[in-house]
Symmetry: C2
Subunit: 670 residues, 2 copies
């Protein structure tokens, strides 16, 4: 028997390989190449290093594992299955990529317990991992005591060539090096194959030298196909380097074991087919049938269950001891883990009356952050190098999260918007109660849209603070003036897009955003000041849209719908139109998505179907607004890009004046 | 007199500094810090190296200069003014950042002749420059002869810390190193200040080591504030290195000359103010008033006019000689420079009838590229490592643009979507007739949206080939299934978004996209096959939307609007509804933007205002469609993200079936 001469290590590794081959063959869809090449590093990491508890995937102090090369998800599903997670049975593996299965085509946190981050879009996972490591470092610095460490885990990543080519990973890994995140360890699957063929058609840089330039600790394992000891030694060394993140380049053969397809692009994303699967079985001395795993392999892998149970029990003892010694800290820690907000967290959110000076909503946002900061210790965030423009600082706090000061909660992301969003996602994925926020100019949401989409898809309550929200930006000109950005964000499912019209609405937007821990929020905030309204309130924002001003008696003839800095134009125009005898309603619509969620009767009460004379006033593309103005309404919106000139001039030249609103209304009324 | 001891070099340099100070002070808005720090490198480059003709900014063989740090635009405006460009007079500089001025807040090609690329969004310019260098290398390899070089110029860049932090530049510069673009030379303004303060809050990587890892030639000039000779020597050396792109790190002091604000973040993006401007004058021994430039400075700078005239004259001689020796090549070269398409370029675009096998539109796209390739030699493009999924290859051609084969026109961008878009923009900015295209999955348009926006803003006829355009993607699941991407692209002004519904419409989309050299096109193409329609045609696509099927006699009761893979669902449903006695119209809407441009009467003829029973069927978010379905219509669209399952299953489960269209229609009709 050939199998007899095969070590248990090899059997365990080949179990991953063959589960991947069989699952992809059965579904006739998927990516067998990476799991076959990465099986040795996956096995070594999970069997010899990873702290986790298969029977409690949510155990807090587990090491985080991120499969950044998400297309290789069969590696992860195989490991989850083999180590005893209830979420991935052999039947789930047989249902790979089928409707309703817990084994979707790329790993998704919301489908499969044990999956730490949703991956597939390349570069995202390693960048999320930087956020996970930041969360760990911050919470450790915040809660650990010299005698009791309740936060203490590593973040491991498997990434491929694609992840290393994507710019987002360059941004995030440069920052990780700066921050000296020593508990972040990445295994780089260097298989020299991408979809277009060998990497030498486009990717010949010296990757490790690049990581060295970022300040990472680097290692190389020439034979990642079989040299388990080398992999284990490298991970052990990486763990011992505490003041640098680590990358271990593991040279492998994609599709290892397949005699005709290994080391080709053909094995990256297509099934081997039955014949080649049989040849692979032969080459790997694999004597088992499809989806068959030797009992001794299960027996070995599933020692993880006992190990995990002991690890969690030990941690529970530590936590118990911590609770006795440090009851206040423990209470806060456990509250955060439960995902509960502290009592009175919103008590200092300011309210305003029209007598209060009109400020820019970015300024109101700064005041909100200052009001939330002391009451919401889990708030953590910063800006992509625009702190003094986004006003993302928390009043009264100094210093920032740096390698020497990880207890600080302000993050300088640098000019790295995409990494910022991915890191914020990573902090949210850590699932430890932290509420991440990050700021940039609204127009640069485009730079990080890939990760904003993942916030929405993966149900992460990230708060995006997006200032300079229209042509009101002024002199910086059209490259800096969002026109289509607000509509494009509104198009993302599960994303709350706020454009508050004054101070009360800004406070209201923060209230809803903080409360929504399962969906991200984009706060679109003005550079320029605007008046405070008489009838706005924090509470009304939760309805998404509401009647701000209404005609006296009877039904309105015309409805003006406004958001943000254009809301007051509607109010002023309404006054003039009312003075000339018209019945006008002004609807404030700070959040279209929340309005959509209201009852049909509420929506009808705000925007009665019978009233078709409606005008939307928003200094952005009209795209999307016809849902409310229909075929008969009008829009005062942007038709094209903006221009460089003082903000007030831009607003006037592009038609955002009371006079223009009045004129359009009169035309519609006539 | 202090000024007497000042060298002419210094006077020239300080002219830039003070024009920047004065312009930003007068407009009370802008970024004086970079021009003050970069004046020496700007002067040295423009005075001693740059081949250009101020009196003909469009002279083809000029060196390209890209100010990647676009906020420092006063550096560029000062250089354009001082060297004698008619586009920037002293009055233009006095009108800095004002409505209608040719000196907007960031450099914009469409406002100011002499500006080569629109910059401001950081990282974009250096990445565009990689495209410019690719264009030069390709055209050189294509047209130059051993005895006549008609394409021969450098591409110079000034970039800052921000550009180096942005991931897009990492992607593009890694590729530039791989491609050994020896005529690309970047000056990196290392001033160690960003908006959040000193770069050491977030950016401590070894930048030059990183560029070395990409394969670049690197140099460092420790004193960029005054050491003009060192700058000149470094540029000369960089020019001599022909098989590597070059980066020269020039350490400078931001706001050099300002006694109180230099070397602080305060001088990055705010006026110095009058008082500090006076102190700066004193420190720089600058005895001239605001906007005053010494005549000797003009005299020296404007030698560029004579030099430029001679350079162009000499090149014209070369071209003339080339024309005599190589009339065919010259004719093609000059046709391309005139921006004319070759006769019969579209003659092989295929047409189809319903008898032809239904293919995926990505496959139709591949056939179009194959049909265009031989007739349109200026077509150049590739894929971000998805050649065999996007089908972006040109049939019959082998090999790709590599350092040894720059004459090839297929580009392997690697897994670098954002760089791809920026490079395509750069090829378009070269303005030499090349027609750039690039492919990725539609959902990953999000990764490159920053540069797609710039294609639209800067009027660049880039063609984006975006395949796998809906949940029809299937097993790869929601991370790979665009839902909101099509609406989000439609929201961008000046972007044509096509979603062809069969083979004819795909050919038609290519025809319009190729003809539109002043606006980008996004072709949204299916993974899965679809039927060819009886009444579609290449020509009808130019109307954006048209009647594909209509009821016999009289006015329709209901209009079905479909796009892409859902068009045939409308056609099939229409047949069933017609059979049950209803009058149904089917409108195909392959390009909303083109439809919007038609006459009111045409639009009314397709979608009569009186017919309010309308249903849109599109496997994407409904966002934007209410413009056509109004308050009374219906939509069969996606409400949320997709799922991992075979594509057909996804379509069915999410309601994209003939039965569902019929049911919704019947409900609306009842």
């Amino acid at each position: 028997m050939v199998a007899a001469t095969t070590s248990l290590d090899t059997l365990c590794i080949n179990s991953i390989r063959m589960l991947a081959v069989d699952a992809v063959n059965k579904s006739n869809s998927g990516h067998p190449g990476l799991p076959m090449g990465c099986a040795p590093m996956g096995y070594t990491l999970w069997d010899k290093f990873l702290h986790h508890n298969p029977k409690n995937p949510q155990w807090f102090n587990r090491d985080r594992f991120v499969l950044s090369a998400g297309h290789g998800c069969m590696l992860l599903y195989a490991l989850l299955h083999l180590t005893g997670y209830d979420s991935v049975t052999i039947d789930d593996i047989k249902q790979f990529r089928q409707w309703g299965a817990r084994t979707p085509g790329h790993p998704e946190t919301f489908e499969t317990p044990g999956v730490e981050v949703t991956t597939g879009p390349l570069g995202a996972g390693i960048s999320n991992a930087v956020g996970l490591a930041i969360a760990e470092a911050h919470l450790g610095a915040k809660f650990n005591k010299p005698d009791e460490k309740i936060v203490d885990h590593f973040t491991y990543v498997i990434m491929g060539d694609g992840c290393n080519q994507e710019g987002v990973s360059s941004e995030a890994c440069s920052l990780a090096g700066h921050l000296k995140l020593g508990k972040l360890i990445a295994l780089y699957d260097d298989n020299q194959i991408t979809i277009d063929g060998r990497t030498d058609v486009s990717f010949t840089e010296d990757v490790l030298k690049r990581y060295e330039s970022y300040g990472w600790h680097v290692q190389h394992i020439p034979n990642g196909n079989t040299d388990v000891d080398a992999i284990a030694n490298a991970i052990a060394l990486a763990k011992s380097v505490t003041d640098q993140p680590s990358i271990i380049k593991v040279s492998t053969t994609i599709g290892y074991g397949s005699p005709n397809k290994s080391d080709t692009a053909g094995v990256h994303g297509a099934p081997l087919g039955e014949e080649e699967a049989n040849l692979t079985r032969k080459q790997l001395n694999w004597t088992y049938g499809p989806f068959e795993v030797p009992q001794e392999v299960y027996g070995h892998y599933q020692k993880a269950i006992e190990r995990g149970s002991q690890l969690e029990a030990k941690w529970n003892q530590t936590l118990s001891s911590y609770r006795n010694k440090y009851p206040n800290e423990a209470a806060e820690f456990e509250r955060m883990l439960r995902g509960e907000l502290p009592n009175g967290w919103d008590k200092d959110l300011p309210t305003y009356s029209p007598d209060d000076k009109g400020l820019a909503t970015r300024k109101h946002s700064q005041i909100c952050l200052g009001a939330l900061g002391p009451n919401l210790p889990e708030l953590i965030g910063g800006s992509a190098d625009l702190t003094h423009s986004n006003y993302t600082d928390i009043k009264g706090e100094t210093g920032s999260f740096q390698s020497e000061t990880p207890e600080k909660r302000y993050l300088h992301f640098g000019v790295r918007e995409h990494a910022m969003a991915a890191i914020l996602n990573g902090i949210a994925y850590h699932n430890s109660g932290l509420i991440p926020y990050g700021g940039t100019f609204l127009v640069f949401a485009d730079y990080m849209r890939g990760s904003m989409r993942l916030s929405a898809l993966s149900e992460l309550g990230v708060i995006y603070v997006l200032t300079h929200d229209s042509i009101g930006v002024g002199e910086d000109g059209p490259t800096h003036q969002p026109i289509e950005t607000i509509p494009s964000l509104r198009a993302i499912p599960n994303m709350l897009v706020f454009r508050p019209g004054d101070g009360n609405e800004t406070s209201g937007a923060y209230k809803v955003a903080i409360e929504n821990r399962k969906r991200p929020s984009s706060l679109c905030l003005s550079r320029q000041g605007m008046a405070n309204q008489a009838n706005s309130s924090i509470e009304k924002v939760a309805f998404g849209g509401y009647i701000l001003e209404d005609c006296e008696g009877g039904s309105p003839e015309l409805i003006l719908i406004g958001t943000g800095s254009e809301l007051d134009l509607c109010v002023q125009a309404s006054k003039k139109l009312t003075a000339s005898g018209h019945k006008i309603r002004v609807v404030s619509m700070p959040c279209v998505e929340l309005f959509e969620e209201q009852s049909q009767s509420y929506k009808e009460s705000v925007l009665p179907t019978s009233i078709r004379k409606r005008i939307i006033v928003e200094a952005a593309q009209s795209f999307g607004w016809h849902k409310y103005i229909g075929l008969d309404g009008e829009s005062i919106t942007m038709k094209g890009f903006g221009a460089s000139a003082p903000g007030g001039t831009c607003m006037e030249k592009f038609g955002f004046t009371v006079e223009n609103v009045v004129a359009k209304a009169q035309k519609l009324l006539s």
